[in-house]
């Protein structure tokens, strides 16, 4: 099962990072960053199956593709923003982490604007 490999990898990498943190903290951070990247690449492989499934259903129910692709974009941006913010916070840079998160939120809001406007138009058209 994949989960055992991932947990084993995480624990070993954490121990290595602690060993090196005493002498070379900058390389310790890079070890934790690299472990995060490797685990994410494995997980993204699995997520792509789910995304393909959702895509096929979206076509079948002929939901407007714009909404679904925007939703995917928002998930991707949130994913990467959280990844960057956690790496920065892990290194002790809380201020940079919060700025990265703020940037992620702003970009997500910008992406959500067309959906919000179409929703409002719909509501207005429904009201008598």
């Amino acid at each position: 099962m994949e989960i055992f490999q991932i947990v084993g990898l995480g624990v070993v990498a954490t121990i290595l990072a602690i060993v090196i943190k005493a002498h070379r903290p900058e390389i310790a951070i890079q070890i934790s960053l690299l472990t995060g990247i490797i685990i994410l690449v494995v997980i993204l492989g699995k997520i792509s199956a789910v995304v393909d499934l959702l895509n096929s259903y979206a076509q079948k129910v002929n939901i407007d593709l714009i909404y679904f692709s925007t939703l995917l974009k928002i998930i991707g941006i949130a994913y990467i923003a959280e990844f960057g913010a956690e790496v920065c916070r892990d290194a002790g840079e809380g201020a940079i982490a919060s700025k990265v998160e703020l940037a992620g939120k702003v970009i997500i809001i910008l992406l959500a604007v067309p959906i919000i406007t179409s929703l409002l138009d719909l509501i207005i058209s429904i009201l008598p």
Binding site: L9, V12, A13, L16, V19, I20, H23, R24, E26, I27, A28, Q30, I31, L33, L34, T35, I37, I38, L40, V41, V42, L44, I47, S48, V51, S69, L72, K73, I75, G76, I77, Y79, I80
Partner: protein, 64 residues
Amino acid sequence: MNIDLIFRIAAIGILVSVLNALLNKSGREEQAMMTTIAGLVVVLLMIVKEIAHLFDTVKTLFQL
């Protein structure tokens, strides 16, 4: 999945710190500083390749 990359970077980190201590003891502080920076650059080059790989995966997956 290149797990060995993690161990390679850990080995570099340990090597650099040992070398650093050695050079500091023998009185060559500037060489110690140079080896530290050299080790850091090598590790950074490896990490940047992996980050680029992750970002490409996310870009293709989420149609960003």
